[in-house]
């Protein structure tokens, strides 16, 4: 069994987060002609979904994203992301609504979700950092300690 000094050392040991690459999506809106070009740049989201809400006054034109991965419904458009790193789409509308675009995204592999253009995921999802736990059970089984004298990790 570990000597009691082990308990003191527990305090010194921290846990680093399991390497959950935090995904994010940036949006850039550029006026072009009589409409707007929107470019979404994805970081670290191999499989996910994005729902963009177009501001009032904008109408959907087209996207360079595959048709079977795009769905438009009213003022909202959904994108299925499978491996893409950029999505470009066009809308018709006045340039002054550039700031009024809103969108949410989710990473279907890590469970993270966030707001487009907000940087770090707002909702880290279950696969992210965990806090250091408290030292657990200790030597509960007194009788079984009989056999615990044989350290299991021996003799290989």
């Amino acid at each position: 069994m570990l000597p009691k000094r082990a308990v003191l050392l527990c305090i010194l040991v921290f846990v680093l987060a399991a390497p959950a690459a935090a995904g994010s999506i940036e949006r850039i809106v550029t006026p072009s002609g009589n409409g707007l070009d929107i470019t979404l740049t994805l970081t670290d989201i191999p499989v996910g979904g994005i729902v963009e809400t177009l501001p009032d006054g904008c109408t959907w034109t087209e996207a360079d994203h595959p048709e079977n991965r795009t769905r438009v419904s009213g003022q909202q458009v959904a994108f299925a992301v499978i491996g893409e790193e950029t999505i470009r789409y066009r809308v018709q509308g006045p340039p002054d609504v550039a700031e009024a675009f809103a969108g949410t995204w989710e990473d279907l592999l890590t469970g993270e979700s966030g707001t487009v253009g907000a940087g770090e995921p707002r909702n880290p999802g279950p696969g992210a950092a965990t806090a250091p736990g408290t030292p657990g059970f200790g030597c509960a089984a007194a009788i079984v300690a009989l056999a615990a004298a044989y350290r299991w990790r021996c003799g290989r």
């Binding site: 059970f137 009788i143 056999a147 044989y150 299991w152 003799g155």
Partner: protein, 353 residues
């Protein structure tokens, strides 16, 4: 009149026996009711009973969500229930085996283990665990434990046939066998790696962890088959207990009877301990207690001590599962602990004699 007095005494004794057996059955039922609710899965008492009903009548009971989530039915029917029933049947079997042996050997301190059966089973299990060699592939440990135990019984019988079927002969032979098998087991442990030795040690503790429905069925069949036979011949056992000469004069075929009883007791013991490992003291303590209460007439002694054995083993198992939260102490260790106050009591009583 003497006969009236005798009849009265006998009636009182018969009443005492009936009360005792009824009381035991009630205690057993209560213990069973408690035992199925014990466990580290955190099921509530109500959930355990609902789970039992749901298993008996699948589809008829509407399970609340929390029970589906906790898999209460799976836990109760796949783990707890057969373990509890196994404790009852195993306790019953070990106790009647002990009773029979104490009668045949005319020694109230005899038990199935006195004849080296436990050591033989442990040896068989060691061979299976450490050497990986056995008779029934896929059931190495169980097969070996059973066969070695029966081998020991056969050896006793053989030696007794050679030297005469006296109880002293059998006990001597038993002790010799016990030392032989213990030596082989120790040697095997020397050869083995630490993990294998640990496995053997755990097997020898005796536990109900490995019970399952098929095993329960098998043991029940054997016990149910053997008990009526024993009851049918219980009078012979009464006669044998008086001495070989007395028995012969009463027309009991002594040698055949002894052999038959030994075989029955060994068979029941072997079938039980090959699944559980060596659980001691039940075969020693249960007949003793019963004899103190209702006397030595084997026609009632056998079933009554069986019930006492069932109560002891089930009670020990309940304790074993609750004493240390989160851990299950092997039930053989618990029965060994329970044997201590019993022996202390016997020791104290000695002064009166």
């Amino acid at each position: 009149m003497m006969t009236d007095f005798g009849r009265e005494e006998y009636a009182r004794l018969a009443e005492k026996r009936a009360l005792f057996i009824t009381g035991l059955i009630l205690v057993l039922a209560a213990l069973t009711g408690i035992a199925v609710t014990i466990g580290s899965a955190g099921l509530s008492v109500a959930d355990s009973y609902i789970a039992i009903l749901a298993g008996l009548f699948p589809g008829a009971v509407d399970l609340p969500d929390r029970m589906v989530e906790s898999n209460a039915v799976g836990i109760v029917w796949g783990w707890r229930l057969h373990r509890v029933l196994f404790a009852i049947v195993a306790g019953f079997g070990l106790a009647i085996a002990g009773t029979v042996m104490q009668g045949v050997l005319r020694n109230p301190l005899a038990s199935p283990f006195t004849l080296g059966i436990a050591s033989a089973a442990s040896c068989g299990a060691s061979v299976a665990i450490i050497l990986g060699a056995g008779f029934l592939s896929g059931y190495l440990v169980i097969g070996n434990a059973f066969l070695f135990a029966m081998l020991a019984a056969g050896a006793i019988y053989g030696m007794a046939r050679l030297k005469g079927m006296g109880s002293e002969t059998m006990i001597l032979a038993g002790i010799a066998l016990m030392y032989l098998f213990s030596a082989v087991t120790s040697f095997l442990q020397y050869l083995g790696t630490s993990e294998k030795v640990q496995e053997v040690v755990f097997w020898m503790f005796g536990s109900l962890d490995k019970s399952s429905w098929p095993k329960l069925g098998l043991v029940t069949v054997v016990v149910v088959a053997v008990v009526p036979l024993l009851l049918w011949r219980a009078w012979d056992l009464n006669a044998l207990a008086e001495g070989d000469e007395t028995a012969k004069s009463l027309g009991v075929p002594v040698e055949r009877s002894m052999a038959g009883f030994m075989l029955a007791a060994s068979l029941v013991t072997a079938v039980i301990i090959c699944f559980t490992g060596t659980i001691g003291f039940i075969g020693l303590v249960a007949p003793h207690i019963t004899r103190m209460v209702i006397g030595a007439d084997h026609r009632t002694l056998i079933p009554a001590s069986g019930l006492v054995g069932a109560v002891i083993l089930l009670g020990a198992d309940c304790l074993a599962r609750t004493v240390i939260p989160g851990a299950i102490i092997p039930v053989g260790i618990m029965t060994a602990f329970l044997g201590i106050p019993f022996f202390v009591y016997l020791f104290m009583r000695r002064r009166d004699a």
